[in-house]
């Protein structure tokens, strides 16, 4: 008797658990579609926006997974190769062409037509005149300067230097302040990063990598040579190191100026709350424009996704101006791709962050071509050799030109 009662109780309990569990997830098993979404933002930044999507789209559930920049490309590539790619995925703009050219991405050309005028940087997702994704948020680089060091060196600390000659002169004065104080933070050989710093200057001076039709390499040009010579001329007054070390030096108040990213708006208040600093556009030569590197986070879907329609729905929701703005304000290191964002209240109240949105107007995206990752490497290799005086600046550009031509010719192989 006793045993039977126990058994009954256990059965009841089990049934209860099952029915309760069923009550929670039952709808999912019934009518809900689960969209697998891989992205790179921290959960606390993206989760609220995804929650909002789920609330407004009761039929869809989002399976959110965070990637890391160190292993993300590998993970995506492996999943594409294994046929287990996510329904929706965040992709860095410099990787886009690699995936698009191998035919792995879903063609969204028809679906994005009406969005074209409302967002920037569509060239980042355009490949062979088709659109393989939507630019979600953007990132660029601008000039950070330390107001205290400027004041100590007797310089005007109320605004950022705007021209190359001003930057050079200011760097020299700040370097003279002491052995461990540097005028400028100069990016040395840092993969994926060095070319962004150099090309910002080259683009400002009217230089380019490829001709507009992407048929010719135009890297070995007088404009690029002048930019490289300016870059090299900063060396005596600069700390030459990797991005993170430069950021650290800047936060510790040892570096007068550096070109860096909006992630500093997140880390400076935490690591160096008392730092007095300002932000300006990337300096330009006389008559040049203040160009910078423009990168985008792209939302794209892979062929073979089981829920392409829901993936597109989620993507369209995420890039909607209010949702993208919410993401940018929480993440701080990216800016919205929607046209007109710089006039929003948020950026009007934060002039330094607003500069990044303004910088985007003149920022340039590298060519969207499947060999880009290798081209980037070839450019950086040549720049490094010039930085370490292994070759003359003229020779460095010639070397890069030759390698880029070989890479361009290898297209399609």
């Amino acid at each position: 008797m006793n045993r039977r009662m126990w058994l009954a109780a256990a059965l009841l309990l089990a049934a209860g658990t099952v029915s309760c569990g069923g009550g929670g997830g039952g709808g999912g098993a019934g009518g809900k579609t689960t969209v697998v979404f891989w992205e790179f933002f921290p959960a606390e930044v993206i989760r609220p926006i995804v929650d909002k999507f789920e609330a407004t789209h009761p039929g869809v559930k989002v399976d959110l997974q965070q990637l890391t920049w160190q292993g993300g490309l590998e993970k995506i590539s492996a999943s594409v190769a294994a046929g287990t790619a996510p329904d929706l995925c965040e992709i860095g703009s410099t990787w886009e062409a690699k995936f698009a050219s191998s035919g792995a991405l879903e063609d969204w050309t028809a679906d994005v037509q009406i969005m074209l005028p409302r967002h920037r940087l569509w060239e980042a997702v355009k490949f062979d005149d088709r659109y393989f994704g939507i630019p979600w948020v953007m990132g660029t680089r601008a000039l950070f300067y330390n107001k205290e060091l400027f004041a100590r060196a007797g310089l005007d600390s109320s605004k950022a230097p705007e021209t190359w000659s001003q930057v050079l002169a200011d760097s020299r004065k700040i370097r003279a302040l002491g052995e461990s104080t540097y005028g400028f933070g100069l990016q040395s050989g840092d993969r994926y990063k060095l070319f962004k710093k150099f090309m910002s200057l080259a683009w400002s001076n009217g230089g380019e990598i490829l001709s507009p039709d992407q048929k010719r390499v135009v890297f070995d040009s007088p404009q690029n040579l002048a930019a490289l010579k300016f870059y090299l001329s900063l060396r005596p007054y600069a700390l030459m190191d990797r991005q993170e070390t430069l950021d650290q030096g800047f936060k510790e108040g040892r570096i007068g100026m550096q070109v860096s990213g909006a992630w500093l708006f997140k880390t400076i208040p935490h690591d160096a709350p008392s730092l007095r600093y300002g932000v300006g556009l990337v300096p330009a030569p006389p008559g040049g424009r203040h160009a910078s590197f423009a990168g985008a986070e792209i939302l794209a879907s892979f062929k073979g996704s089981r829920h392409p329609r829901e993936a597109l729905m989620l993507a369209q929701f995420l890039v909607a101006p209010e949702n993208a703005a919410a993401l940018c304000q929480a993440a701080k290191d990216v800016q919205p791709s929607a046209v007109g964002s710089e006039d929003s209240d948020y950026y009007r109240q934060r002039p330094m962050e607003q500069i990044f949105v303004r910088q985007l107007e003149t920022a340039v995206a590298p060519p969207n071509i499947s060999q880009w990752v290798d081209m980037e490497g070839a450019i950086e290799e040549a720049l490094e050799e010039a930085l370490h005086d292994k070759v003359t600046p003229e020779q460095a550009l010639k070397n890069a030109q030759r390698k880029l031509e070989a890479l361009l010719a290898a297209k399609g192989s």
Binding site: L73, E74, S77, A78, V80, A81, K98, F99, S102, A104, E179, S180, S188, G189, D190, R191, L239, M240, D241, R242, T245, Q248, G249, E252, R254, V373, E381, E384, E385, H388, K390
Partner: protein
Amino acid sequence: MSARGGAGAGLGFWGPAFLLPWLVSFGLFGAYPLLFSLRLSFMSYNPLNAAAQKFVGLQNYVTAFHDPVFATALRNTALFALGTLPVTTTLALGLALLLERKFPMRDALRAGFFFPSVVSAVVISILFKQIYSPYGLLNSTLRGAGFSPPHWLEDPRLALPCIMVMDVWSSVGYYAVLFLAALQAVPAEIRESAVLEGASALRVFRSVLLPQLQPMLLFVLVINTIRSLQIFTEVFVMTSGGPMHSTTTAVYHLYDQAFFRFEHGYASALAYILTGIILVVSLLQARFLQFGEGTGT
């Protein structure tokens, strides 16, 4: 046979059954991958574009032969081996001689010198990255002493030597242990008779100890070379192969090709070339010693 009993009866049916774990493991993680990557090394194979895989014959090997980065990587490896070997060996041997005789706290001191060599390479690399960083231990100290210090890991001439110094620091204890064992195996009579004949300490070392240590010296030479050929973690953590490939090693280049660029075919060819080099070195080792290699990382 197994029914006979007695010494070494064999295990009958159970013998092969006990071997099963090895057979499975060797098949799955030894033989199959070896053959598969040999096949890959003759192919153009990129998992991002599985449709485009095709046989290319010896193309990958030809490419490797003309690959300037691979040539740099091999040169860096040779520099690493040639640079660290004499220093590590001399220091380790000296340390072993110091620690060989009996004195108070000897065992604790031996342990103290040995310990750094069992610490993870990642931990040591991070630690030394700090020490070499622009505002790290070394440069703060040098600045404090009034010097204008260089940028160790950012200077193409200094980065590899910096990693080599770290390697010497972290492996001296390991080789000292080997030399200590070899020293203790020297028969006491040989040494004593030399001392009784009035030979100087240096002479005893040169004419008595050194010949006895020769096999161990060879062994150290071989494993240090193999280890140099396989250096990866330090480079991955500290320099990513830079600046200007000055710290790119053979395995780092292989990793870069396989897992950044996904050129699995080419990377497999590099792996086979590397294996060929290591096998030659290992065969030398096997000639001098009967069997086996140090740790299997």
